[in-house]
Assembly symmetry: C4
Homo-oligomer: 234 residues x 4
Amino acid sequence: MKFTLRARVASEFLGTALLVAAVVGSGIMAERLAGGNVAIALLANTIATGAALVALILTFGPISGAHFNPAVSLADAIEHGITWPHALAYIAAQCTGGIAGTILAHLMFGLRWYSISSHPRHGPSQVLSEFVAAFGLLAVIWGCSRSRPGAVPFAVASYITAAYWFTASTSFANPAVTIARCLSNTFAGIRPSDVPAFALAQIAGALAATVLFRWFAPELPSTAEQVLVPHSTR
Amino acid sequence: MKFTLRARVASEFLGTALLVAAVVGSGIMAERLAGGNVAIALLANTIATGAALVALILTFGPISGAHFNPAVSLADAIEHGITWPHALAYIAAQCTGGIAGTILAHLMFGLRWYSISSHPRHGPSQVLSEFVAAFGLLAVIWGCSRSRPGAVPFAVASYITAAYWFTASTSFANPAVTIARCLSNTFAGIRPSDVPAFALAQIAGALAATVLFRWFAPELPSTAEQVLVPHSTR
Amino acid sequence: MKFTLRARVASEFLGTALLVAAVVGSGIMAERLAGGNVAIALLANTIATGAALVALILTFGPISGAHFNPAVSLADAIEHGITWPHALAYIAAQCTGGIAGTILAHLMFGLRWYSISSHPRHGPSQVLSEFVAAFGLLAVIWGCSRSRPGAVPFAVASYITAAYWFTASTSFANPAVTIARCLSNTFAGIRPSDVPAFALAQIAGALAATVLFRWFAPELPSTAEQVLVPHSTR
Amino acid sequence: MKFTLRARVASEFLGTALLVAAVVGSGIMAERLAGGNVAIALLANTIATGAALVALILTFGPISGAHFNPAVSLADAIEHGITWPHALAYIAAQCTGGIAGTILAHLMFGLRWYSISSHPRHGPSQVLSEFVAAFGLLAVIWGCSRSRPGAVPFAVASYITAAYWFTASTSFANPAVTIARCLSNTFAGIRPSDVPAFALAQIAGALAATVLFRWFAPELPSTAEQVLVPHSTR
């Protein structure tokens, strides 16, 4: 590990902030322009999110591994990729970074700096969707990283692009992003009372995939930094 | 081959399940949101499917070769890439996995766990389309794998993205996926009585491409795992 | 060169046929579904064409260089990449392959096997557009191939994706494809009387870029096969 | 550095001209076809711009580094990647190339060769958006280039694709492109009186990211040519 914990935590903060700014900001722009056609709005939101993931994972991956997601840091700590204290520092940076991203998006679009979402997202279908979304995300991370770590930024971005459409919840798949999105009463928002069930389903899905891939592919590399963006040249 | 047959069969099951969940689920979401514009719905369905293929082939390719398709396993057995008993095990996993994917998509969207499609897809144009769709898919697999096996996930996903639009049938190109889609009376469905002609046309197209590329490029590598995702580092 | 001329010519025929089938077929599908919104139709046509180019250049590049385009074969012969007799054989295969692609698209969509387009595309703006389109295409081929031949499939596909929108003619940029498209009275068609000016502008643009890049970057590799898809492993 | 300053300056001129032609031209086409739905128009404009960036950075990167942007050349000079006199020559080529691109787009679409935009883009939200847009662009360039210079064309194109939607200003992020766009009273235009605040915000954002990444990752390679497209084979 070449980077200090301080630099890595700053990387997780900044990367998660820009990711949430992309998710929330593109949702605001898309809804404003789409003339009421929700499919067009979600398509724009999807393309912006997928493209942001490619750029941000390539940018911050070499510094901190580009987790941007407490479920990923948790799974990585379980697999001994990072220590538990580092995982906790990562998670704190992700949650605060995500909230900063929501605020940034609001300021860029001339909105009040925060607003509480009234967008209901609940019920068994939504919760199952989040379990599946996070299960698939971790499956992609553990599976792809085995043979082609350099392709992980593209695999993760492609996965989320697809999952925005194939899950009923539009695939939050990330507790820090879920918290940040409850502070925005816009296209991408989620009602605060629906956050806990989403976060629990996400963590459960991530853990299920981690256990499955331990059985599937026990020769996995054990550090997230190797997994997400390899330091070795490509 | 590093992985046991059991792990490889599980990989084919899980990968095909997630692929069908992506196809069927994104079709449901797209139709719900598109406000009656079928082009927008198919565009969303296309982008979700193409992105899912990139992610899933990168994820499961190193374990089982990421066939997800009986026509591919059949062609691979003919080319001596896998043994016939293994091909049969793969095909069983793909067919059951596909059905599981349909059920999963239905549960995520709060629908009954299965429904019989009433979507007619028949006639010579549709059958010719499936022949062409599968011919092109196998051409891409055999052609691309010769010099750039690492690019196969992108080549296959790009091909299917295009074929959703340039074939009249929206390019099923996969008997297991076709069977799974007849169990969903949604956007991506197909009437059960139309399945046999689709499956036969797909197998015929796959075999035609396999024969052609044997003449074209006889120095093809002979194992599907090398073909689809190489174990050698990239 | 590992492949016989016969295999290479067959590769150009088949690749151009599938490329034109993708362009014409996706145009038919897009127009049928788009409900009169031409932007949505062109967006679908664009995505299908760009994705087809990625897949087909990766598939046929290792065999024949994946020219699919008389302007490319001409420029390559001028740069001594292929001999003139071989260039003529390539061009014949591209022109007949393109026509076969139009016929295939019509059959897949249940249309008469050919129809003469009545779509006017003429005037100085259109002709300038085709000059620019072909100039840019050859610039991308010569420029990108110098340092990163493995990226050429993605560079060419990305270029055409952009050029569908930034030229007024939607960037035919290919005399064989232009001829093939005059035989389809559908979305992608062009009136036969407008073909000669398009073809001349395309050839002029290709030659201009070739001359410019000879000055710019004289150390270019001299064979098209090295340029388009390198035989060296990636 | 293999190329003469003259060739490099010509590369910056030509690349910026084609980039602006893509931005302005695709805006004209998109607005003409979109039937009043601004989201569809911006989606087409976004896809064309992102795809053009992939193609043009791959094409001109090996010659001049593919800056196409005074903010990038300025940041690179500060980091001692290029000398100040070379940076000034680059910036002059970018500004004149951008204007040439606007003129080329107008001629391709049969419009008068220039027109003064009346599209207002001002206020604190817009200016903040440009600061964030340029900050993120330089973050991507400095961050990604450290470990994976070969991925920079894809990272930059993905970033701009996302930023078109997540900033309120649609992410100009480039003073030369901003100047060029004030000469086009079309979809992509900007009122001349709004240009100075945009340009200043862009330069401030670029500098902020450069300073931040110097702290973050001091072992950055110091030349832009290495950063943007490496000469070493991939």
